[in-house]
Amino acid sequence: MLDDFLVRALLGGVMVALVAGPLGCFVVWRRMAYFGDTMAHSALLGVSLGLLLSVQPVVGVAVVVVMAALALFWLERFRWLASDTALGMLAHGSLAVGLVVASTVPGLRIDLMSYLFGDILAIGQQDLAWIAAGALITMLTLALIWRDLLAATVQADLAKAEGVPVARVRLVFALLVALLIAAAMKVVGILLVTALLIIPAAAARRVSGSPEVMALISAMLGAVSVAGGLALSLWIDSPSGPSIVLSALALFVLVIAGTGLIAGGTDRRR
């Protein structure tokens, strides 16, 4: 059954989406969309280095993305450097280095599109195993730090005063985003990973009354987006990654239309 490339694609995609949903909620709540994007851009360097050193690209990606996350934490200490400037430098700098290194790896250039935009139909048995492991670890860890991370997101000082290890859960969260990016690379590609994190979460907000419900709905919307995108890709022979993002966007529009855009605009105080 797992031999079927369609089944593998659906399984891998849905696993990633189920984790991306809850994780993406925090990306949205903490306003870290650009942070996720930056880490994703650095992933290409991981792919290139992985192939250059002939280790699994996934391993290379995980290592480089984690290092990018740590670099961002370190750069945060320099007050003279605006954080979005640091993010931009790291995002495009690492993408540039990644592309240059990639040009030295024979054969990679042909494959570049699949890393940048995903190639869900090419998910192999081994990829599936990597994705499953990454998704499981990420999900379990997130469940473990959920209360602390939410408290740190709502009010960091309050959380810290009441004993939440704020700096530690922040770091763990950044590492989880890094891990998810490595796992999601095959599904939607480096340049579109952030979309899978934030679009389902943004849609879920409209129909959620609590953080936990929003995380669940976001996971489900993500899974539906993957299935829909896969179907679209097969139907009109479009690239799979962009098709998944497109179907997530379509879901977002449907949810907004369903709940009423005008009614939503009025409950916004502050």
Partner: protein, 287 residues
């Protein structure tokens, strides 16, 4: 009854105070610039201590240092180990991107039973807000909900940074009355920050008048007559507090540093009021 004595002498026993938090010769710096220096203070169970002072005088900084949120450059500031705190921070707002109802906010850092949540909200008179979105609360409602959340933790020490902000005048008196009741009922220590003078004077046991350092401290009736207090709150205080003395011992320059009186630092002082409508001791170099 006798068993409690085994636990330790500091709590019961000789009628001594059960200390909850203290600062010793505390200095805090931001970017190399001292914002607090030489601060000594303490608070014990059953006491209400209010920190007052002008904007930028380091009130919130002192609170944060005591809570371990800001490191001390010199000296120390700490909670006595084992002290459970309930904290109401100065700024609290939940972004509309995060769906958070009051009941979920109550269990933000620790789980609690539905009945305990209900009781805490009831105690501060906001049980009707239980299912409300936190982002939709008014300033006064937010303060009360946060107070309920702090109480739910069954704290030894309540730390309230500007608890009456966004609360109307009647609500303000009611909130201070409530805080006093809570202290009486539960024997809590209460550390408050305020820039409002008169209501708080009636509601507190001890006042710390802060302006980068502790200008004066004591019971409200003494502090309200203290020259340093009058220096800081001159006109406002003079308008409502009938009798006061005035004598110089030191002054502040624009940075809050103490300057010697004879150094003619008066001209730079941002909060030097009231010379025209009361007498003061003759001094060399003036007039």
């Amino acid at each position: 009854m006798g068993a409690a004595a085994v636990i330790g002498g500091q709590e019961n026993g000789t009628g001594g105070r059960h200390l909850l938090a203290h600062a010793r010769a505390l200095e805090v710096r931001f970017g190399g610039r001292p914002v607090l220096s030489g601060v000594d203070m303490e608070i014990a169970a059953g006491e209400i201590v209010t920190i007052i002072g002008p904007n930028g005088s380091g009130k919130t900084t002192l609170v944060k240092a005591l809570l371990g949120l800001i490191p001390a450059a010199r000296g120390s500031a700490q909670l006595v180990p084992g002290t459970r705190i309930g904290y109401v921070p100065q700024r609290f707002s939940v972004d509309a991107v995060l769906p958070l109802r009051v009941d979920r906010l109550m269990t933000l850092t620790a789980p609690a039973s539905a009945s305990a949540i209900g009781a805490a909200l009831e105690r501060v008179g906001v049980s009707h807000l239980r299912r409300a979105d936190v982002a939709s609360l008014s300033g006064g409602e937010t303060q009360r909900v946060l107070l309920a959340r702090a109480l739910l933790r069954q704290p030894d020490l309540l730390v309230l940074d500007e608890p009456v902000q966004g609360v109307d005048f009647a609500g303000e008196a009611a909130l201070y009355a409530l805080i006093g009741e809570l202290r009486d009922e539960m024997g809590l220590g209460v550390l408050m920050v305020s820039h409002d003078l008169h209501v708080v004077m009636a509601a507190t046991d001890q006042v710390l008048c802060l302006n980068g350092h502790i200008c004066c401290a004591g019971v409200p009736s003494d502090v309200s007559r203290h020259p340093e207090f009058l220096r800081l709150f001159g006109r406002q205080a003079a308008a409502t507090l009938a009798v006061y003395r005035h004598d110089h011992d030191h002054d502040h320059d624009l940075h809050g540093h103490v300057v010697a009186d004879d150094a003619d630092g008066d001209t730079a002082s941002g909060h030097h009021h009231g010379h025209d409508h009361h007498s003061h001791r003759p001094q060399s170099g003036h007039e």
